[in-house]
Each structure stands twice: as C-alpha cells, then as structure tokens.
C-alpha cells in the first residue's frame, strides 16, 4: 500500500490492426478519434471530460485533433521527445499532469499509418545529414539493418545463438495463436524460422516485426476519481524517462561504448524506474517488451535485470519468457505477431492483464512492466499494477 497519489489508467480504446497501408481511406485523425471514443466509452466518460493530451514524438497535431474531436479546452498538452523509445514515457507525462493538478482527464494517444512512408526505411533521410551520410555509404536504410551490427556483436561477445532469436519469435506466435486481434497467428517451428531468408544477417525476415496501421488511446485520471469509474483501475506505479550520452541517437550513431553497444539502451532507465518505484524485476509478473526485432527482446531482458548481461540467449532458450515461465513476455503476441503501433499495443495488454481480462491471462498478475523501444533517447519505461 502506498500513500502516494498515483494516476490510473481507466479506459482503453483501439482500432483494429491493419496490414501496412490497408487502414486507408481512414485518415490518421480518424483512426485516433475511433480509438479515443472507444477509450472514453470504456471508462464511462465523454470527450467533454478530456482536458489533457500526452503523446510521444510522432508529429500529431493537438490543434487539429481538438478541432476534429470536439474538445473545448486542454490545460495540458505535452510530447515526450523520443519516438519509439519515448513511447512508455506518455504514462510518465500523464502521471505528471494528474499529480500536479494540471489536468483531470488525460488522453495518451499513439497511432501508425504506413501509407507511402515506411518506418523500416526511416534511415534513408540520413544521407542528407553531415553526421548521417556514412549510413548512406554503408547502405543502412532501416533500423533493423543498423541493429544487426549490435546483434552480431552480441553473438560474438556472448555466444548468443540464432536459436534464441527463433525462440522469441516462436513464443510470440504461440501467444498470438489465441489472440484474435493478432495478424500472425500460425505457430512457428524452429526449422521454419531457420529457413526464413536473411534480410540483414544475422537478422532474418521473421526477426523483423509486423508493419501495420492502427491507433490506441488510454484515459488517465487520478486514483481517487478512478475508484468511482466503471473499470478496475490500473495504477501507474512508476514511470521513467532517461537520456544517456552513451546511448544517444541509438542506431543513428553506432559509436556507443561497450556494453551499451550490445545493449538495448535501457540499462539507465531500468535502474531509475526500479529505484523510484521501489519495485524490482523480481516483483514483475508480466513484461511487455518492445519487440520491433526479436534479438532486442533478449537485450532488454538483460537491461531490465531479468538475467545478467550476455545471458539473455540461454535465458530465453530455457523457456523463461513463455506462459508459465519465470517472466512471461508479450502474451498478446507483441509487435512480432499481433501488430505494430509503436508500443501502444503493449500498454493495452498490460491493462488487460491487470484487469484480469487478458486473452492469455498470466495467473494473478499484479504488476506489469512496459518498455519503450531501443531507439534515440529518451529511453522510457513504466510499471503498472492493479493494487495501490
């Protein structure tokens, strides 16, 4: 029991998840609006209750959204400066807004629509930048290609095997098999994994996550107010945003010293999250790990202290991340099998686990970790729980 006033997630809304580009002719504001109205309905609130926005860096336009959604006034409208790395930071922002009294009902919003533009080619713009032109000389046009350099180094230093990456993907598929919202639900064998074509050796096609469209929204309010609302509150027990020089621009830099280079960049944010929340890895019942590339799950398990640096491969190969393992990871199938909306689907799964309504429910789950993606700083993460 904590005396601290914690903010709580009281409503969740999502559009269906669509393969890349197929959410058209819906527009991004339309997808967001559908998620927002669903989240408010879930909470038993209306758009007239909303007085705050929290985003991560994606280019959403608060002015356009309040015009189109019919919001009269916001007293809090803030953006975490990280992109996929900043995703979990929206919960930190929302907590700040609630706990300082700047707003009473804050919407956390995430959306993705890849029509024309593909996240997987986001490094192409670097060719026009004096610091980034070397990526163009190398031929690194997407995050997966650049992260392959870190993954190979991890294999070199620690003996991490492709079988471990395969286990991350197979565990994801096994979870997604029963998840109706997941786009890839067919179980996968290790032979099928090993036969997948290499896209950025040692990363094969199946190590890359889905490319999808969709939007999600979460309603955050005070714990006191949450007690009177419709859903079982999910409390934001801790959230942290940390930017370190040794991680910096992540795969846009490639000059991180070791061990940061062979990490997922989350060591510092994990430490701060655990220190400020008083909750540690042993207290976490289910981990929603940002899985844009399967080896990065292994590196995050190391960063977040579920196993030691370099031992992530054998750890996952032991079955630890499966349902019933020592730390179930992504029981919704994650980005690898369910859908990719820049991590927001992981917050949804955390809420469903802590409400006790998840499709692949972790028994008696009380505490969930949500991580932002290994990407340029700030790196962010949050711990949610269903008891105060």
């Amino acid at each position: 029991m904590s005396a601290k006033s914690e903010a709580a997630i009281v409503g969740v809304g999502a559009t269906p998840y669509y393969y890349r580009g197929t959410s058209a002719p819906q527009t991004v504001p339309e997808l967001i609006g559908k998620a927002v109205f669903a989240a408010l309905a879930d909470a038993g609130l209306t758009i007239k209750d909303v007085d705050g926005f929290a985003f991560f860096a994606y280019g959403f336009d608060p002015g356009s959204l309040i015009e189109q959604l019919g919001i009269e006034q916001l007293t809090f409208s803030h953006i975490v400066s990280g992109y996929g790395g900043g995703m979990a930071g929206v919960l930190d922002l929302a907590s700040m807004g609630i706990e300082t009294g700047r707003a009473k009902t804050i919407l956390c919003i995430g959306a993705m629509q890849q029509t024309g533009r593909r996240v997987g080619q986001s490094l192409n713009m670097l060719g026009a930048n004096p610091d980034g032109v070397f990526h163009a000389l190398a031929g690194l046009s997407g995050p997966g290609q650049a992260l392959a350099l870190s993954v190979r180094r991890h294999m070199h230093l620690y003996g991490t095997r492709r079988e471990a990456f395969g286990e991350v993907v197979m565990a994801s598929r096994a979870a997604a098999a029963t998840r109706e919202t997941a786009l890839r639900r067919k179980p996968l064998t290790l032979d099928e994994y090993m036969a997948s074509p290499m896209l950025a050796d040692p990363l094969c096609r199946l190590d890359f996550c889905l490319e999808t469209d969709g939007a999600l929204a979460f309603v955050v309010t005070s714990s006191e107010r949450a007690a009177d609302l419709r859903q079982r509150p999910v409390y934001i027990a801790g959230a942290a945003q940390v930017a370190t020089r040794n991680w910096g621009r992540a795969f846009f830099w490639l000059n991180q010293p070791e061990p940061e280079f062979v990490s997922a960049g989350a060591t510092a944010v994990a430490q701060r999250l655990y220190e400020t929340s008083g909750i540690g890895p042993k207290d976490i019942d289910v981990a929603l790990i940002y899985d844009h590339f399967s080896p990065l799950v292994i590196m995050q398990l190391e960063d977040y202290g579920f196993c030691k640096r370099g031992e992530g491969g054998p750890f996952v190969e032991s079955g630890a991340i499966r349902q019933g393992g020592s730390i179930p990871v992504n029981p919704h199938g994650g980005h690898l099998s369910e859908g990719y909306v820049v991590g927001m689907t992981h917050i949804r799964e955390a809420v469903e686990q802590l409400r006790g309504t998840a499709v692949n429910q972790v028994k008696n789950a009380k505490t969930a970790l949500v991580t932002g993606g290994p990407a340029p700083v700030p790196m962010t993460a949050a711990i949610l729980r269903n008891e105060r």
Binding site: N129, P130, V133, L137, M198, L199, A200, D201, N255
Partner: protein, 144 residues
C-alpha cells in the same frame, strides 16, 4: 549468390558537409582518412562536431587513425536488375582503428567474399568518387 560484395556507385551522391565535417572531406579528396581529436584533452570524437564531449573545448586536430579492423558487420541482399539477374549482396561494416579509440566509422566493405568477412578482420580504406568529393569504403586487407 555472387562471390563478392557489391561496390556501390556513389557518383551521383552529393555529400552534405558543415563547418565541422568539411576538413574530413577535404582530406578525403586527397584520399587521406583523417579523424578529429580534441586539441585540448586529446579525446577523439565521432562524428565531428563543435565540442569535445569530455572537456567541451572547440579546439580540434585531424589525425590518421591507424589500422582499421571490423568491429561488426551485416550482410544485406541486393536486388539485381530483372528476374534473371543473379542475387547480390552488400556488406555494411563498422570499423574501429588502432590509433583512434572511440571512433567507429561505418561504410561499405566492397569486393569482399562473404566467407572471408569476420569481426576483427583487418581492413584498408579505399576511395570512390562522389558528386562533390570522394568517399571512403573498406576492403579486406590483402584483397586490394
């Protein structure tokens, strides 16, 4: 798969430069690889920028970095022209240098047999023409 990694064509590439990176490209035109080191405390920096991350000095000197070796690499499939074209591959290589700790340069490792590429393999720098300068690529030592 063809035997060796591709050698990309950079002849149309307009290399963007600013005040702090221009000395790199001036030397590159003369096929010399130089990297920036703090003129006050001797810390190497990469990419080249206006301040030393250790002592915040703006003084900088440019030095040859010594022998390069592969720190990590990946292998990317490259589509050939047309259905019948044989599959090709490109090797982005991240290279460290014996005399410039803290500097990792990423570029293409060209004309390299995939089986010969490994972490710690020694590389030499070669230079290819771009629209406004020449650009560094790597070759395995002994393959030049």
């Amino acid at each position: 798969m063809s035997a060796r990694s591709i050698c990309p064509d950079f002849s149309a590439l307009e290399v963007p430069m600013d005040h702090w990176s221009e000395p790199f490209w001036r030397a590159a035109e003369e096929h010399r690889l130089l990297v920036p080191r703090c003129g006050a405390c001797g810390t190497f920096r990469w990419p080249s920028g206006p301040f030393c991350s250790q002592c915040q000095s703006q003084n900088v000197e440019w030095l040859p970095p010594g022998q390069g070796r592969i720190y990590s690499f990946t292998v990317l499939p490259v589509r050939g022209d047309g259905e019948a074209a044989p599959p090709q591959f490109r090797i982005p290589a991240l290279v460290v240098f014996d005399e410039a700790p803290g500097v990792r340069l990423v570029s293409s490792l060209v004309d390299a047999p995939a089986a010969a590429v490994a972490i710690d393999a020694l590389v030499e720098v070669d230079w290819l023409a771009a629209a406004n300068t020449t650009v560094p690529v790597f070759r395995l030592r002994g393959e030049s």
